[in-house]
């Protein structure tokens, strides 16, 4: 009876090791979908939710937790800003649904309060939210399924914002192509709901929350993105871009507070891309 018992212990050991690794690392191990299943001749992906519907549910589940907390906390500040500016809650909610990019929303409300012209507001918001373009360009090839109508992509693009983009860039490459868009829409839709709840709560609680608490809530946003990026350092190009951006961001902000983000993105990003290309050419 000894051999089967040993065999069973081996399996247990393997399982335990895998379980431990998942617990320790949090994120699924980096596996490239290279091998194919001979029976179905379909590619195998490390994360398979089974169906697009279940992928959407997985996206919603993933959103409930740190991402929902982050969006709720970030939009608390926006809600209270809307109240302090004298705008109605309806305007705040409409802004969150229609714009869905916080820095631009804040710029708009502040400029509106200052009585800026519509043209000035348009230019300022466009400048603040220009980051949506490189984000959408990199995310769409991952999400779209060839042959599906384009209007779906344009509709889903409205949900592109920093959090959903960053999480989808990490998670979606591990999924079969048909499950990526549902995952992203489920995830982004859920955090949009959290943002709306945050807007309402911020509007109602404006002035009630102690200063220290509101400072902690404001800090949730940078904390989250820093940890999200630190938790996924699999791609050399991205890591280089993060380092270049981290150094360039404060420097350019000291030089020009208006154009600092665009300059940081373009100069830091091109520099990181060039370094990555050079290293690749030398087969490092």
């Amino acid at each position: 009876m000894a051999p089967p018992r040993r065999h069973r212990i081996d399996i247990g050991g393997q399982e335990r090791q895998g379980w431990r690794r998942v617990i320790r690392r949090g994120l699924p191990p980096p596996v490239k979908p290279t091998h194919s299943d001979p029976k179905t001749s379909a590619q195998c992906y490390p994360v398979d939710h089974g169906s697009p519907y279940r992928a959407a549910l997985a996206g919603m589940r993933e959103a409930c937790g740190a991402p929902a907390l982050v969006l709720g906390a970030s939009y608390l500040g926006f809600g209270s800003l809307v109240r302090e500016t004298g705008l109605s809650l309806g305007v705040g909610l409409f802004s969150t649904i229609s714009t869905w990019a916080l820095p631009g929303q804040i710029a708009l409300v502040e400029l509106y309060a200052l009585g800026a012209s519509v043209v000035a507001i348009f230019i300022a918001v466009a400048l603040t939210n220009a980051r949506m373009m490189p984000m959408t360009i990199t995310l769409m090839p991952l999400l779209r399924v060839p042959g599906r109508p384009h209007w779906r992509n344009y509709l889903a693009a409205h949900l592109v914002a920093v959090t959903g983009w960053a999480v989808a860039m990490i998670r979606c490459p591990d999924m079969p192509p048909a499950q990526r868009m549902p995952f992203f829409v489920g995830f982004a839709g859920t955090i949009l709901g959290a943002a709306l709840a945050g807007t309402v709560a911020g509007f109602l609680l404006s002035g009630v929350v102690p200063v220290a608490v509101s400072l902690g809530l404001v800090f949730v946003n940078p904390m989250y993105f820093m940890l999200l990026f630190l938790g996924d350092l699999r791609h050399r190009g991205r890591v280089l871009a993060l380092v270049c951006g981290a150094v360039a961001g404060p420097l350019f902000h000291l030089v020009t507070p208006t154009w600092d983000l665009l300059l940081t993105g373009v100069i830091g990003g091109v520099l990181a891309f060039a370094i990555d290309r050079q290293l690749r050419r030398r087969h490092v």
Binding site: G26, A66, T99, I121, V125, T136, N153, A166, L215, L242
Partner: protein, 115 residues
């Protein structure tokens, strides 16, 4: 009467202008990404731009904040970041624990300012 009715709609119109200014970039991104092959290096370039921009934004928010965080000291913010990162890795890369630790630390340091 109808004048005040239209005036109440004005903020919605302004918000819609801001929404259009934002969506233009997304639509442009979808249109351009359709012309780029999925394995094209151009895609890597745009990815690098997006990541550099976001990293710059996050570090700027911590090191040179604009807005309410200006009221906190640099030491407090860096201490909150350090504790948040430590908690994140100690608790097996748990985002919720890391984020909460950083935010609570900053709130505590704002409430009881260090000497």
């Amino acid at each position: 009467m109808s004048d005040t009715g239209w005036a109440a709609l004005w903020p919605y119109g302004v918000v819609l202008v801001g929404a259009a200014a934002t969506y233009i970039w997304r639509a442009l991104g979808v249109a351009l990404s359709g012309r780029i092959r999925a394995d094209s290096p151009v895609l890597d370039l745009f990815g690098c731009i997006a990541y550099a921009l976001l990293a710059g934004l996050v570090v700027r928010m911590i090191v040179l904040p604009v807005g309410p965080l200006q009221a906190t000291g640099m030491g407090s913010r860096l201490a909150a970041v350090a504790l948040g990162i430590a908690a994140f890795f100690i608790f097996r890369r748990n985002l919720l624990v890391g984020v909460a630790t950083g935010a609570v630390t900053l709130a505590a340091l704002a409430f009881w300012p260090p000497p």
